[in-house]
Symmetry: C2
């Protein structure tokens, strides 16, 4: 089942069911007005949404209309929780090197997460606006899951059942603000502007055998201005699975329905797979050539992030954003 939120009906958009091919959609106001409302009552709502999805995919619905990602907000245009992991630890190690910081060995066993802001989540095709190019504008291509209510202290074994939907994220970062902000000791705030999400969030059955052990085993494709940046496999080198991240973030507090948990920037140790952010590219250049060559993003650049199934079809639709000045 694939779900999206059209820009209609208010700040939280209008929940629609999209067919597997991302060709057609139907609104479902009779079931739930918004995705948050659906997640608030997922047990009762999910079977009814799946009925619509089955009928839509079987071409048995009269009211289906052509699907256009340009009409979409983020699946959750605003959320109550966005916490981002750094599950690809080799990426963390590289980025730390890039800012001259050591990575403790415990990072391989104790997940690193940061509390993100979730009051302004961008749609897949929304412009990404920034105050200044001098801030070091960078993409971070990631996978994220959406949960139902997760109790405090959930075990890794019990966490998987709370994962309801999967989507893609561009966790925009302002690299040149990060060192000074992190040195203050309280984590990211100004250096993490609004994140962007794929137009469609999908249930795990849409991923078929690619969803295994709480990871998505498919390449995550990133492009800048049409040129490939990377295609690392999100199932490879993910040190902590989504259930492991869920156990970590519920150690002392519960999660409310509609919580979004990110994987962190997808990165493979096999560097021939390319990168999911420019900071990693620049670090590899620094190591190989003594200095970074690739600049951060400029106003007017375009960033595209997508994941294809084994037949080459887009699973989530592309995040495809122009970098603009606010």
């Amino acid at each position: 089942m694939k779900l999206a939120s059209r820009k209609a009906g208010g700040r939280d958009g209008q929940l629609v069911v999209v067919d597997t091919a991302l060709a057609r959609f139907v609104p479902v106001p009779q079931i739930a007005p918004t995705l948050q409302s659906a997640l608030d009552h997922w047990l009762e709502v999910e079977p009814r949404l799946r009925e619509v999805s089955a009928a839509l995919n079987a071409d048995q619905l009269d009211g289906a209309r052509p699907f256009d990602p340009l009409d979409c907000a983020a699946p959750l245009p605003r959320a109550y929780q966005w916490v981002d992991g750094s599950a690809y630890v080799n990426h963390v190690e590289l980025v730390r090197k890039a800012r001259g910081a050591q990575m403790p060995a415990s990072f391989w066993t104790d997940p690193l997460v940061y509390q993100g802001g979730s009051d302004d989540l961008l749609g897949a095709c929304d412009p990404a606006c920034f105050v200044s190019e001098e801030h070091g504008i960078d993409l971070e291509a990631e996978v994220a899951v959406i949960t139902d209510d997760v109790p405090i202290g959930v075990s890794v074994a019990d966490a998987a059942v709370h994962i309801k939907l999967v989507m893609l994220v561009n966790d925009w970062s302002l690299r040149n603000l990060i060192p000074a902000e992190l040195s203050k000791g309280f984590g990211f705030y100004q250096s993490k502007p609004a994140t962007a999400y794929s137009s469609v969030a999908v249930t795990m059955d849409e991923l078929g055998s690619a969803w295994q052990e709480g990871k998505v085993h498919l390449p995550l494709l990133s492009q800048i201005n049409g040129a490939p940046l990377g295609h690392p496999n999100a199932g490879i080198d993910m040190t902590f699975s989504f259930p492991q991240l869920l156990a970590h973030v519920t150690r002392t507090r519960r999660l409310g329905a509609g919580a979004i948990i990110g994987s962190g920037t997808v990165s493979n140790l096999d560097r021939s797979q390319g990168s999911s952010c420019l900071a990693e590219v620049r670090m590899l250049e620094l190591l190989a050539q003594g200095a970074p060559r690739t600049p951060f993003l400029k106003f007017g650049d375009r960033v595209r992030i997508e994941m294809l199934d084994s037949s080459g079809y887009s699973i989530f639709g592309a995040i495809d954003q122009a970098v603009t000045r606010c």
Copy 2:
């Protein structure tokens, strides 16, 4: 005008208008079902709520019922944004000393904030549950404001108009988890469990002359098991006003309606005013006597946080919570 959210009608509660004396309330479903909904349409909704408030305070409403804080959730039982400042910089300096860390001089001019989690906000009389006493359970008594939509890059001068409501916060902290978590570099997560809020949020006119220059000039009373912990004045030694905090947190991103911005733990340089958290008490003991004597909180303890007007009436109702095991 005073507003609360009764535990009724769903996850976001039922918006009610409370009289100034906190004696009676009326639901206002004809105006807005929830406080978030009211904030989403504040321009149109506020005058209608004020009409109800005026009639309620003039004893002209037939449907008014006795107000009981025990029936209340947090004013926003879940929110899209909770960002907490550390505006009382002398407190930051003390707490840093307590964990053996230096405070940079820039902290006196560049606000420190942390991005909090907002999917689970506790009501004023809800039990505060924790996993272990070993985590070092501590209160942090604070003032917070709720905003409407705040554009990116708002100036200090333009920020004040976006502040719509004021309330009290207990920003629960797990002190013994903080050093290891902050040393990972990404800020707080596990060390900041669910925060609690006063049952009532008020418009600034309810504060009278105590609301000046974006600060609340009144003592903030904290008690543990009925014994006074402190009564520092929230208007004194607040290095950064709420408008200054707003300008800081919108430098690279906007805020959505219903964003909650905290002051950080209220603390006066005049130590005779007492403290708003145990970490500060313990640090002062360490400095004076070579070792902290006061323990952190235990299961069964009660914490009360309140602010009185010049006539001795409770403005927001008390945050009055039992510390319990999850």
